[in-house]
Structures are given as structure tokens and as C-alpha cells.
Amino acid sequence: MSRHLSASTASAAAAAGRSLLGWRLGVPLILALLVAALAALPALAPYFYIFVGTEILIMGLFAASFNLIFGYTGMLSFGHAAFFGMGAYTTALLLLHFQVPLVWALLASMVTSALLAAVIGFFSVRLGEVYFAMLTLAFGMMVYAVAHQWRSFTNGSDGITGFLLRDFGLGLDLQLADPAVYYRVVLVIVVIAAAVLYLITRSSFGLILRAISENPERVAFCGVDVRRHRLAAFVIAGAFAGLAGALFAPFNRVANPDLLHWSQSAEPVLMTILGGAGYFLGPFFGAAVFVLLETWITSFTERWMLVLGIVLALLVMFFRRGVLGTLLDRMLSR
């Protein structure tokens, strides 16, 4: 009798199941090929593209960390740059004053960014998503203002410069000053970080996050303390944004307040919307499109952010699932 009621739902399920099967087999293969291609990039592409590739990887990680709270938990943060910048400053200061091996600077950056996220998150996840958006923007700009004004520590608007990359640590002998080597280091770290993030999204915790993004109230009535889970997601996202910022500082050769500004927070938002918040790789895809577009557009106009704003508005109005999302939706529905 239950089958009689659900004939239509059952056939829809079967159709979705078939295309998902092909999907499960294809994805690991495509990903392996992609990573192999990325690893081979320095040998194949012109020098310039090593820089582009490094930036795409770092920004992709930044956007993916943002998407843990946006796409998976349903909270739109306009202050994610605070953690990116925190990571960049931490690494820059540690390299400048203590000449620590890079790997320890990266880990320390994750810790400081996570702590900052714990403080900002504590106040921001208490209320609904409207408040969350406002508060993350406001607190993010507080961090920006502090970096600007606390000259003795942050060197004001000039930021931290003149720090050098020495060794990587862990006994590895790497010539980090060589952009191709740094690119490969970034690639390995970003792949590991992405794998960890992916695992989190697939875990029980990740399931709860997805449920929260859809219907926080129902989750609460299942006995879950929604606020604590939102905060945990926010802190994890902050830590990975900090890692991205930490990788960015040596690449950028400067950690300055620009990295903390709200317009920096706009970037992962746009990348994620561009690629599609519904897929784990959406933000990475969006970062690639974003950085390539930026490289191209800034060659003939300074007003790249204007283009960015218009693209964001159009995507939200007409392509809410993003470029990758829309493509995949088409493929899956066929």
C-alpha cells in the first residue's frame, strides 16, 4: 500500500540513482587526472602561469573554507577575510621576527585564525542569518581597523614586508624561493586541506551542518545544539581560511590591511557563487574562473571590482547554482 502511494517518488529516485552511479566512478578518475595535470604545470606552462596557478589554489582553499559555513551550514559571512588576513599576518610576523620553518608558521596561523574565529563566531552565531551577515562584516572591519591603527605591531597600512622564506621544516630540503617549488608545496598542502574539508563535509558532523543549513529549527528539535555546531563550523572555516592566508603571505610578499578589508571578503563569496555552493569543488572551480578573469580584465581596466559586483548580481539573479553547479545539474538531469 505504501508503494501505491509513492509510485512517482520511486521512479524519480531510480533515475537519480542511475546517473549517480556513473558519477561515483568518474569523479575520482577526473580528480586524479586534474591533480596530475596541476603537478605537471610548472614543467609545461609559461612561468607566468605558475603564479596564476598558485593564486588559484590558495584562493580556492580560501573559498572552500568559506563554503563550509555558507554552502554547508547556510550562514553567509561577509567577514571571512578577517581569518585570511589573520593567517597572513601571523605567518609574515613569524617569518620576520623568528625565522621559523614555514610549516610551523602555517600551523600557528591556523591556530590564531581559529581563535579569532572563535571570538567573532561566539557573538555572530547567536542570532539568525541576517544578523550573522551584518556582524561578520562589522567584526571583520574591526580587525581591518585594528591592523590599520596598531602601527607598532602591524606597521599600519604598509603592512609587514621583508620577511624571507627559509626552510619548510620537517627535514625537507626545499628551495621555497623558487616559484615552481612554492607552487608544488601549495598544491600538496591545498590538496591535503581540501581532503580534510571534504571528509568533514561527509562526516556525521557534516550531515548535521547540511541539515542545519536547510532547517535549523528542525535540527534543534532533534536534540542538537545548533549554535554550538554553527560555531564549530565557523572556527574550522576560520582555521582553513587562515591556512590560505598563511600560504598567501609569502606568495604576495606582504601582509597588509587590504587582505582584511571587506572587499577581500567579497572574493570567496563571489568565487563560491560563481562555481556553485552546492558542490564541494564549486569554490575551487569558481576561484579558477575568478583569477583567470581577474588577470584578463585587469589588463585593460582598473575597475575589476566593478565587474565583480555586476557578475555577482547577475549570478544571484539568474544563475544561482553557479557555473559548475548549472553544468552538473544539466548533466545529472539528462
Binding site: R126, L127, V130, Y131, M134, A138, M305, G309, I310, A313
Partner: protein
């Protein structure tokens, strides 16, 4: 005592300016359920339009006070009809994203048209001097801002509590569907409210033009400050906007004078305290959205 009075007067002109901005933000939120991230951008447009009219076209200040806000309201009508209208009924995230995109667009357009430098507008002749008050010399323009704020406050209160338009808007704020069924043209009200909120932001921009630096960062600064105001006062609350503006004004006026080294983070500390003790804001009602 004199420095106390000076700090108090300083607080009040900032507070009045913040009130004008925050109340517009609140009115839009009340009816559209949107937090308008571009509100600071509209404020900035008000200031730049004034600059264009006064410093470039050599118009006097007073007609600019009328013209610039109307021009911004017209921009707002276009924004609401062409952009925001498309995401009503969707998840609240989409409207947040859209107004955020508008913030980027307005910010960059201003940089493109007027450059990144600082511009200034001189106050109208009659308000250029100082007025002595209880032994304190005070710029008459700041006094004008305080008076203008109080007049606007009274006018808004009358508008929303004593007129038919006010009743219609409040009906639409409480329940759009219900308002529609009793014959209110809700889409028109929504456009009108958004334009009115933008008009208020622009009035703030015009008023601020002779007092604060006109630069492309002014919109960012004011939007953060008005967020702090509405969080402190209570999102959507009219008296809350006033109280929040006064609190933040006092923090600025006295913090700048007595605690200059942490002046910058004081507003955030105030906001954090309110969030801890009364998350819905000092005058906010019920569960916050």
C-alpha cells in the same frame, strides 16, 4: 565641565547623523525584510551628488539638500524594480548577496567617476561660523545637524503614527499578504519604502558632506556604524535606532576624548556587550531574525 559639554555636543551631531542612516535601514528591513548592505553606498552617493552640485556646478547648498536625495531615491527605484524584485520570495541569503553586490558596484562606480581622493564641500555661508554655548565654542553647522536630526525625527514619527501612508506602510510591514487582500498596492509600497529609505540615507550623505571627508571609503564606514546602531538598538525598531545612535554617538564623543587609544574598538565592545546581555537589542522585541 567644558570639555564634558564639548564631548556631549560632539556626540549629538554624530548621533543625529547615525540616526538618519540607521532609521532608513530599519524602515527598509521592516517592510522588505532585507538588510540593505548598499545603504552606505546610497549615503555616499548623496554626498558625492552634493559635491557635484555644489563644488562642480556651483549650486548653493540648500537646493542640493533637496535635489541630491531625490536623485538617489530615483536610483533606488531603479534598483528595487530591476534588481531586488527578482529575489523576493527566495531565501534571505539571495537578497543579502544582491545588496552586497550593489555595495561593490556603487563603491567602484564612485571611484571610477570621482577618483579615490578626498573631496570637500563647504557649509552654506550662514552656517560657517561658531556659536558659543555655555562657554564652549561650537561650529554652527554641527548645531544645524542636531536641529535637522530632531526635526526629521519628529517628522518621521508623525508620518508613521499619524498619517494614512504611515498606517499603510506599517500594515505592509506586519503582513504583506494581508495588506494585499485589503486592497493595498503592496509592490508600490515596497518600491516607495525602499526609495524612501534611500532618500533618508542620501539626506544623511548631504548633511555629512560639509562635515566629514568625502571619499570612497565613507560608505563602508557609515554602514558598519549603522549596523552597530541597529544591533545595539534592536533591528527594525524605530526608537531603537534613536537609542542606538545616541549610544554610539556618546561612545564616539566621549571615547575619542577620554580613551583615545582604544577609541576604535569601543563601538564593537559596546555592541558585543549588548549581544551578550540582550541579543535582540536594547529596544528590540521578541526573537531576533
Amino acid at each position: 565641565m567644558q570639555s564634558f559639554i564639548a564631548a556631549l555636543l560632539n556626540s549629538l551631531d554624530i548621533a543625529m547623523l547615525l540616526f538618519i542612516i540607521a532609521v532608513g535601514l530599519n524602515i527598509i528591513f521592516g517592510v522588505l525584510n532585507i538588510i540593505n548592505f548598499a545603504h552606505g553606498g546610497l549615503y555616499m552617493l548623496g554626498a558625492y551628488f552634493t559635491y557635484a552640485l555644489v563644488a562642480r556646478l556651483d549650486l548653493p547648498f540648500w537646493p542640493s539638500l533637496l535635489l541630491a536625495p531625490l536623485a538617489v531615491a530615483a536610483v533606488a527605484v531603479v534598483i528595487e524594480r530591476l534588481v531586488l524584485r527578482r529575489v523576493y520570495g527566495r531565501h534571505v541569503t539571495d537578497s543579502l548577496l544582491l545588496t552586497f553586490a550593489l555595495l561593490l558596484i556603487i563603491d567602484e562606480s564612485v571611484r571610477m567617476i570621482w577618483g579615490s581622493g578626498i573631496h570637500t564641500v563647504r557649509p552654506p555661508e550662514i552656517l560657517r561660523g561658531n556659536i558659543s554655548f555655555a562657554g564652549v565654542s561650537y561650529p554652527s553647522y554641527s548645531l544645524f545637524v542636531i536641529v535637522a536630526g530632531v526635526v526629521l525625527l519628529a517628522a518621521l514619527w508623525l508620518l508613521f503614527n499619524r498619517t494614512r501612508i504611515g498606517r499603510i506602510v506599517r500594515a505592509a510591514a506586519i503582513d504583506r499578504d494581508m495588506a494585499q487582500t485589503v486592497g493595498i498596492n503592496v509592490p508600490l509600497v515596497v518600491t516607495g519604502v525602499f526609495a524612501f529609505g534611500a532618500w533618508l540615507a542620501a539626506v544623511g550623505g548631504v548633511v555629512a558632506a560639509p562635515m566629514r571627508a568625502i571619499d570612497p571609503g565613507m560608505g563602508d564606514r557609515i554602514i558598519i556604524e549603522s549596523f552597530i546602531v541597529v544591533v545595539i538598538g534592536g533591528l527594525g525598531s524605530f526608537p531603537g535606532a534613536l537609542l542606538g545612535a545616541l549610544v554610539l554617538g556618546l561612545i564616539h564623543g566621549f571615547g575619542g576624548r577620554y580613551l583615545p587609544e582604544i577609541n576604535l574598538v569601543l563601538p564593537y565592545i559596546g555592541m558585543a556587550l549588548v549581544l551578550l546581555l540582550r541579543p535582540q537589542g536594547l529596544l528590540g522585541r521578541g526573537a531576533p531574525a
